[in-house]
Amino acid sequence: MIEARELTKRYGDKTVVDNLSFTVKPGEVTGFLGPNGAGKSTTMRMIVGLDSPTKGSVTVNGRSYAKHAAPLHEIGTLLEAKSVHPGRSAFHHLMALAYTHGIPRRRVDEVIELAGLTSVAGKRVGAFSLGMGQRLGIASALLGDPAIVMLDEPVNGLDPEGVLWVRNLLRGLADEGRAVMLSSHLMSETALIADHLVIVGRGRLLADTTVEDFTREAGGGVKVSTTEPMRLRSLLAGPEVTISSSSAEELLVAGRDAREIGAIAAQHGVPLYELTPQAVSLEAAFMDLTRDVVEYQSAPADTVRKAA
């Protein structure tokens, strides 16, 4: 369990993390989302004590990280893939970390195999691709068999097979009762892995919600075309249902899924000629939420063109 309370980090007069409070619970995958420069990495560095907060506090399993006798058993982290000396082999890198805790060589071999690095374990890390570097980072995060796994942008640079591997791995870790936290700036990817979402922008908490709630609030709904829109409208009405219409024979229904609507229509003999779940763009909802706080705003494409 990670508990951040009013965590604040300032560099000079620039506030990178601003009064951030959140909890990462065991058994869940918590997605830590925000645009670039939102303070995600700084927050993660404060969690493992690399940076000290200007104000507020963060605890790992009830204590500040540095107070643990065996920190790698509490939380395993991947901060940046290149937190490795390029001249050392993957095996020796992991051994060096293992020695600090007296972790046996057997466990080092285990995580190398788990991360799919067996064939390159003896190679110098400097020769690794970005994806292999990520796998090594994940292997070192798992080295101490930790209660919490915290990964900063773990799928960066991974091929589709690697992305799937990370997704299943993290799900498996959470199902074993571990707390999993991963940061990302990609909503769509995170929604596939995470249960819980902590969304930040410019260091401030924008949303602390579940993926399900976020998806529901993101809207979407089902587009229905019928020859009897008025009748269908009254049949579908309910306390949590909102219906709007964009043209004479079209309805946009939120709060009921396509299956329900189809069943109700069939039951009452209302002819339908279209019944389409609207693709919710989680990415669009995420961008709506973070639009005002994007650190590095890009100019809209047409203004760029005009300027050129």
Binding site: P26, G27, E28, R45, V48, G49, L50, D51, N61, A66, H68, A69, A70, P71, L72, H73, E74, T77, E80, K82, S83, V84, H85, P86, G87, R88, H92, H93, A96, L97, Y99, T100, G102, I103, D145, A147, N168, R171, A174, D175, E176, G177, R178, M187, S188, E189, A191, D195, H196, V211, E212, T215, R216, G220, D257, P277, A279, V280, S281, E283
Partner: protein, 296 residues
Amino acid sequence: MPTTALRGVQRPGKNPNPSAAPDPRTPATHRTTHKVTGIRVLRSEWAKFWSLRSSWITLCVAVFLLIVFGAVASYTYSPDAVATAGPPGPGSSGDSDAVGLALTGVTFASLAIGVLGVLLSAGEYSTGMIRSTLAAVPRRLPVLWSKAAVIGPIALILTTVGAVAAFQLGTPGLDGEKIALSLGDDGVLRSLAGAGVYLGLVAVFGVALGVLLRSSAGAIAALVGVLLILPGLASLLPDSWYDTLSPYFPSNAGSAIYALHESSDALSPGAGLAVFAGWVALTLAGAAFRLVRTDV
């Protein structure tokens, strides 16, 4: 990856109600056997040192320089050349004894050994390895002590062996010369071991500079500045100041440790050792302060 409605889509293996399922036993919290201890951090730093090719290369270069310069200086020695070379510089061990000749390479070796120390510490900052290191040892200070404790003795032992080798190799070159000495002569072994002690401390000095400055280039520049340039630069001081201060400069105090004959304008070996060790300790203290106080 298209973004589609997730509602009703069952993600593989995903538990729909996470709050009900988690096993309250977090898997790792009972393991108290694998604690971080000072010995284990030392073991880790030892393994880190030997698992880098650059450590081997730099160490070999240092010992090689020590031996080659020493041996060559002994073979090319001619008493006439020394007589015309002018007075020996302040604090120098004097060019006119066999030990001094055998230790000609110390200055060069000290740069190589100092760089080795810098690489061991500042190298972690430039590569990002320091994040992994300090995440594993969040108390931080054991890392600094361990680095010093690993490289100090390694440098001390190997360079002492190198100094003895340089002396032994050079001895035939001085055969028949007035200044020839043998290993068993008074003070010879002490001087040669003194060079090892000096170089061991230089290695620790390099580690401390690396942690203090966090940049390989900066720390190497500081190392060269302190060991080579500072004594020359200080000669710009007024004479009375210079005479008083110069024995206490790190490199002058250091060379007093391995001088065979105590010269009038230098410290005794014991005092030299104390002064140089003091400089190293001061730098280490600064490094420790910065390591603990500032973000990585």
